[in-house]
């Protein structure tokens, strides 16, 4: 009974760590497979594997680094299993981006910096971000709803994201 309780506690801790890390793990996955829906599917598969392997997780280790390793394998497996579909990216992208990406997601203040920077956007900028990233949001749909050209919407979004990137960098440096 005692050992079972210990295992339960360990498993529960992994679940909690996994839940808290979801946004960062999704960002990591997306960097290696830049398609939102597929990246989410891959992350869901990876979540299963992470829970299955929860016993292997050493509490002394950084959880996100451990999880990134498994996710990386899942993305590689996805590229391999879907090779016939002529995916536009492949393992080259993993080799180029995985390490940098892992460094980025290891910085857990990035998420709160993004929240603060989002608040600093203008009313109009926040609306555009919410429309673009909300369910079913797309540049084409926004152009239709706002009676603007897709090029103009894209330009606005590029500028807003650039503003956010710059703000996040400054916030992290200051803190």
């Amino acid at each position: 009974m005692s050992s079972q309780r210990v295992e339960s506690g360990h498993h529960r801790s992994v679940v909690e760590l996994l839940i808290n890390a979801q946004p960062r793990l999704f960002a990591y996955t997306f960097t290696l497979f830049p398609n939102l829906d597929t990246a989410r599917d891959i992350l869901q598969d990876a979540n299963c594997k992470l829970l299955e392997k929860s016993d292997d997780y050493d509490r002394e280790r950084d959880f996100v680094s451990w999880a990134c390793g498994i996710i990386r394998n899942c993305v590689m497996a996805y590229y391999r299993d879907h090779a016939r579909e002529k995916l536009v990216f492949g393992n080259e992208l993993i080799n180029l981006a995985a390490d940098v990406s892992q460094t980025y997601v290891a910085e857990d203040r990035r998420h709160s910096a993004l929240s603060a920077c989002y608040q600093k956007l203008s009313d109009q900028q926040r609306m555009l971000i919410d429309m673009r990233y909300g369910p079913d949001g797309s540049v084409a749909k926004m152009a239709k709803e706002l009676s603007r050209s897709t090029a103009s919407i894209s330009t606005s979004l590029h500028r807003i994201r650039r503003t956010l990137e710059s703000c996040i960098r400054t916030t992290l440096q200051l803190s």
């Binding site: 079972q4 295992e7 506690g9 498993h11 529960r12 679940v15 909690e16 839940i19 979801q22 946004p23 999704f26 960002a27 990591y28 996955t29 997306f30 960097t31 830049p34 939102l36 990246a39 989410r40 869901q44 979540n47 299963c48 829970l51 536009v88 990216f89 080259e92 992208l93 180029l96 981006a97 940098v100 990406s101 980025y104 990035r110 998420h111 709160s112 993004l114 929240s115 989002y118 608040q119 009313d123 926040r126 609306m127 971000i129 919410d130 429309m131 673009r132 990233y133 909300g134 369910p135 540049v139 709803e145 706002l146 894209s154 979004l157 590029h158 994201r161 650039r162 956010l164 990137e165």
Partner: protein, 585 residues
């Protein structure tokens, strides 16, 4: 060969295209090659790529896959058959466990710290959630209700819409954004919450129980059923725990919440603790903390203000219409102009206000009841019962005609809803209003007319139809020429709203043109160019013989009418548009 010539800006443009511009085939392939080559050649581009893609993912995650979108909202049913597990469902279990845990963590952060969950309870909650999902899917397959419909627009006053199409009172609203520069809008959410919002405002209707306010002042009234209604303001979240509160969100300042009655819970952001704010208290939601501010209920819009302002606005519109319509009554082409003005409740006839009015052109009211019209101070006639109608007489045959009516259709109960029609004089005998001599003269006039009957109606598919009966064959005495709009003009979504319906008949240009709310919706060439005999008219129904009633012949109009125009010339599209503009409620 690595592409070493790509500037940083060019590289950023490529990544932006990858994120915002889904392409297919060769274009996408070429884009990915360029990105890979650039990142191989320049290490700093890898950082830029990671920074841009991670920002994109971080903005998407909370908005696309928030817990309340993942978790079904129905409570688990205890005795649902368990479904056999499969690989797919195992994946769902993980998703649901994660979603449940996220929700749990968001709603009760302290609960997680207590760490009192066991594997068994986790497994049980997983099963329960799995059952929930199954139950939800099954019940959804029977439900015709569209979950993307979240609210209905109530009263609106002086609204200057800036985002999306203008919203009409009674309009069902889908998930999405609305914005207005000024005015007040009432939104009744299907969860049982009412929001009265004053502009300038921008808000996103996210579900029947959740709204995001980017800017605006709003009062929120929540019924017992609607408890838990949630208002998001960027990062912060306000959840109603009963009754009413006001919220102000203005760019550049922190949102404020003033609790009128009951209490609300407030969270500054997803990771902060929930704080309950009691009635007659107010807080400002700063990024770092909640600060007390002076409570004030009066600064927020409320239902009484909305009602008063709407009444004021109605009065202004009504006066404007009255002035314009008095001028219209002097148009010499008007044969009949029922404005339903200067009438008393209980009057048994409608006065023809047209300057050229002829004797008998007053309408005899049968059954129809007086009630408020487009504005509370204007009168209308309501047609509810099977025999409600108005009888009128306008003599003469006309090569050109305009028929126009302000009508509120509340339902289409049968295959035909009468707007206005001409009838054989014999039917009027049913009403006991024709002497034998008058009947004979009328019958002779009709016998000499090529057009026997004219019926302006709405059919069961809500299409407007001008139906003209010519002399037919021996076996089929009436030959009908139909001029029906291709599309519905007053579909169910319009029921209960006032519409300006019009049709022009023109033997000079040889066409019939239908208008709805000032817009031309259908034009068709005349099949035969013949004058229309008006004479005996019925509005809202047809006088039917007893045997016809027994056979279920039904022409009843169900709704209200508060203005009717018959002119012996063809009104231009501009004139019809102007009448609509000045008369729209």
């Amino acid at each position: 060969m690595p592409n070493t010539n790509l500037s940083e800006e060019d590289f950023r443009s490529l990544v932006n295209r990858l994120l915002d511009d889904p392409m297919g085939g060769n274009k996408q392939e070429r884009l990915s090659e360029q990105l890979i080559e650039a990142m191989q050649a320049n290490e700093s581009y890898r950082e830029i790529y990671v920074e841009m893609t991670q920002l994109h993912a971080s903005l998407s995650w909370p908005r696309r896959w928030s817990p309340n979108q993942t978790i079904p909202r129905t409570e688990p049913k205890e005795h649902v058959e368990e479904q056999p597990a499969s690989n797919g469902s195992w994946r769902w279990i993980v998703a649901l466990v994660l979603a449940a845990m996220i929700l749990f963590a968001v709603l009760t952060p302290l609960a997680l710290q207590e760490k009192n969950l066991s594997n068994d309870s986790l497994a049980n909650s997983t099963k329960a959630l799995q059952r929930k999902e199954i139950t939800q899917t099954a019940s959804d397959s029977y439900a015709s209700f569209d979950p993307s419909l979240v609210a209905v627009a109530g009263r609106t006053v002086s609204v200057d819409w800036t985002l999306g199409s203008p919203i009409e009172t009674g309009q069902t609203l889908r998930r999405g954004w609305i914005g207005f520069a000024s005015g007040i809008v009432q939104l009744d959410f299907f969860s049982g919450a009412r929001l009265v919002v004053r502009g300038p405002a921008k808000l996103e209707l996210r579900s029947s129980s959740e709204v995001k306010i980017l800017s605006g002042e709003a009062a929120c009234y929540v019924s017992e059923l609607g408890r838990g209604f949630r208002i998001l303001t960027g990062e912060s979240e306000v959840v109603d725990l009963g009754t009413s509160f006001g919220i102000r969100v203005q760019p550049g300042t922190s949102p404020e919440v003033h609790v009128f009655e009951g209490k609300v819970s407030v969270k500054q952001n997803a990771s902060s603790d929930t704080v309950e704010v009691e009635q007659k208290h107010a807080v400002r939601i700063d990024p770092a903390k909640l600060s007390d501010v002076a409570f004030s209920e009066s600064q927020f819009p409320n239902y009484d203000i909305l009602q008063e302002e709407q009444l004021d606005e109605s009065q202004v519109k009504y006066e404007r219409w009255k002035n314009e319509t008095a001028r219209l009554s002097t148009d010499p082409s008007l044969l009949l102009h029922y404005t339903f003005e200067n009438q008393k409740d209980g009057d048994i006839q409608v006065i023809n206000q047209a300057q050229t009015r002829a004797v008998g052109s007053a309408g005899s009211i049968i059954g129809a009841q007086w009630q408020p019209g487009r504005w509370p101070m204007k009168a209308a006639l309501a047609f509810k019962n099977e025999n409600d109608r108005v009888l009128a007489k306008v003599e003469g045959s006309y090569q050109t005609l305009t028929l126009m009516m302000w009508a509120r259709i509340d339902a289409i109960p049968g295959p035909r809803s009468t707007l206005l029609l001409t009838e054989k004089p014999k039917r009027w005998v049913l009403n006991g209003t024709l002497s034998p001599e008058v009947l004979e003269e009328a019958t002779t006039r009709r016998a000499n007319s090529a057009v026997q009957e004219t019926r302006w109606m709405i059919d069961q598919e809500a299409k407007a139809n001008l139906n003209i009966a010519l002399v037919g064959s021996k076996n089929n005495p009436l030959a009908w020429d139909q001029y029906m709009t291709e599309n519905p003009v007053v579909g169910p979504s319009e029921w209960g709203n006032w519409s300006a319906l019009a049709v022009t008949y023109d033997t000079v240009k040889n066409q019939v043109v239908h208008y709805v709310n000032g817009e031309l919706v259908d034009a068709q060439p005349l099949k035969k160019s013949l004058p229309i005999l008006l004479d005996y008219l019925e509005i809202g129904n047809l006088s039917t013989w007893e045997n016809e009633q027994e056979q279920g012949v039904n022409f009843r109009f169900y709704g209200a009418i508060d203005e009717i125009i018959i002119a012996d010339r063809v009104f231009t599209a501009k004139e019809i548009q102007e009448i609509y503009e000045v008369g729209k409620p």
